[in-house]
Amino acid sequence: MALSFEAFTLVTCLGQGVAAHRAALADCRSGLRPCRLPEVELDTMVGAVDGLADAALPDRLARFECRNHRLAWLGLQSDGFARRVAELRAAVGAERIGVFIGSSTAGIDRTELAYRHRRHTDGALPDWFDYRHTHNAFSPAHFVAEALGLDGLAVVIATACSSSAKAFAAADRHLAAGLCDYALVGGVDSLCLTTLYGFNALELVASGPCRPWDRRRRGISLAEGAGFALVARRPPGDAEGPMILGYGESSDAFHMSAPHPAGAGAAAAMRKAIAMAGLTPADVDQVNLHGTGTTANDLAEDRAILDVLGDAVPCRSTKGATGHTLGAAGIVEVLLMSLGMTAGLLPGMPTTLEPDPVLGARIGRWPEPHVSRRALSNSFGFGGSNCALLLGTGAT
């Protein structure tokens, strides 16, 4: 069985919707810009989404007001996604569409703001602060369900940078168990002081743009993004466009914020995804790297790639284009890879100027025509949480 994409959409610093991202990939564009957020005094580049100030939530969703939900709202309105969900809701019932959202920081920007406005008398947070509907980890799924009138299962997967990749795995299992007929899988994370200053404290943030696989790479570029997909289980090849044929999850069991140096956990996740899809490593013809641009990640991931797939399969990271969208990265990047597969194009790596000779995976600076039928997408998070998704076109 495979997961088909009945509808999908995404929003990043590259733009809003599928057409904008197709164009950005073809142009090999980077959306990273110097950070101009108020309250941020770091010398850093970020992938910020334009238009969030104008993406006001409707009154009925006012209690959910936060940057994260504005971003989610922009996403849901793109590519007719909300309309498609409404059609299916009418067909199968609101309680038969499950909601599985990945997010790492949810609406923490509201809490950061609230702490800046504590009451002088007793230090209380201001009355407008609504923890449950903004900062709480579950709020992105609550928001999506409420926004689209869905009344079935809903859950947030919060495993740092692997969150929305793992959301696909959870959705598949719930569909297989008959607990829903469709799954709305999503990922959304927005720029906030916590991640900007937190990653900075760990010395993992580059001052220029992130440069995956580059000899002079110095760290990540933080970004925000939203991706949504309406998926269903179908026999492989039984739908137009790429389908998720397999997934693999593992833990590094090594360190909270550094990857296993040999990439063992990453390799295990990749192997499991390939095996679940009924394939062998030789069948994989493209890899979307997690490729954050930190010294440690790229080195460890490179070892995992060489170990599992060798040095011939073409590999690309899109984080030079979009930045690191954290909890949204899993879904945003698998959707970008899907767009590339449909267009017969490997994405370029606009910020990778001088490939690191120590690394052996076969990357490329420019977009390349490429027919890809079996593509792997990697997402690795803090706490050693690894998830690989295997995307395929056509029948097996």
């Binding site: 168990a177 999850e249 998070g381």
Partner: protein, 298 residues
């Protein structure tokens, strides 16, 4: 972009969602309930519930060096998970950690369910962010992720099995139990479920007032696992009344902490009682859990 008359996928199978639970593979750490061994007679009505007492959960599997870097939330989740994995009560003194793992080590996927994450760290980070110097501690930041306990657990057990960390707000325990069931239905032999929630410090506390820290863990398996145990059958429902606990203190704990929504299930296990408990799920919905003694094969 989508064709008007697109064929829809076949409707999902309505299969019974059944799991195995083992009565000696549970864990609990809560006010006046420091372990499953201590809680079992209380929930069975054989010993009185003495009320809250200070909690100091210490996970033995985590080396002291790593333990020093952890928060109360992380230690609570791990200490509870340990009880269920090893089937052993916390020791009075530290015993050697390695001997407490099941023979052959541990290769058990884990589902961590927590409604709000580590609010103690979130408070520290948000407080630091108000300071113009923004003194966010790097250790605090990597410990602030919702899946921090999962990360430390895999390091402590040296287990590369996948874990998932999720939230469904007050429905987190039910959501965790459902996720666990889906993993077992997908082929996992055994999965450890750990639900935990810790009250936030002020000023966050009054935005999310929880009645004390609480954690529960249970090792769950395939319904056709060999040997004795309890078979759980799960069913989503609507309009059913949640099962309450009779002792007012315990009922206050159940409704005061999302992880404690598991208490009626634990009570049924402690009382060796077959039947159905109704656990709250998302608003207006419930998760019915039917317990039946597994008949061992002759």
């Amino acid at each position: 972009m989508m064709a008007a008359a697109e064929p829809r996928p076949p409707p999902s199978p309505r299969i019974p969602v059944r799991l195995r639970l083992w009565p000696d593979r549970l864990g609990i750490v809560g006010p006046g309930l420091p372990s499953w061994a201590a809680a079992r007679p209380i929930l069975a009505g054989q010993s009185p519930y003495a009320g809250p007492a200070p909690l100091d959960p210490q996970p033995c599997l985590l080396p002291a060096r790593e333990r020093r870097r952890t928060t109360f939330t992380i230690r609570l989740a791990l200490a509870t998970a340990e009880q269920a994995l090893t089937g052993m009560a916390p020791p009075d003194e530290d015993g050697p950690a390695e001997t407490r793992l099941p023979p052959g080590g541990s290769e058990v996927p884990v589902v961590f369910a927590c409604s709000g994450g580590d609010t103690e760290i979130i408070h520290r980070i948000c407080t630091a962010l108000v300071d113009p110097a923004r003194p966010v501690s790097p250790g605090d930041f990597h410990n602030s992720v919702h899946n921090a306990p999962a990360g430390y657990w895999s390091i402590a057990t040296r287990d590369c099995s996948p874990t998932v960390s999720l939230s469904a707000f007050d429905a987190s325990f039910a959501a965790g139990l459902i996720e666990t069931a889906t993993q077992i239905l997908a082929g996992a032999e055994r999965v450890l479920l750990v639900a935990y929630d810790v009250p936030a410090p002020e000023p966050l506390w009054r935005c999310r007032p929880l009645a004390g820290a609480f954690a529960v863990a249970m090792l769950l398996g395939r319904a056709d696992a060999p040997g004795e145990g309890i078979t759980l059958t799960l069913e989503l429902c609507r309009g059913a009344t949640q099962t309450a606990l009779v002792p007012p203190d315990l009922e206050a704990l159940r409704i005061g902490n999302p992880a404690a929504r598991a208490l009626p299930l634990l009570e049924a296990v402690a009382r060796r009682r077959a039947g159905t408990v109704i656990l709250p799920h998302l608003p207006g919905r419930q998760l019915a859990v039917r317990l039946a003694r597994t008949e061992p094969l002759p």
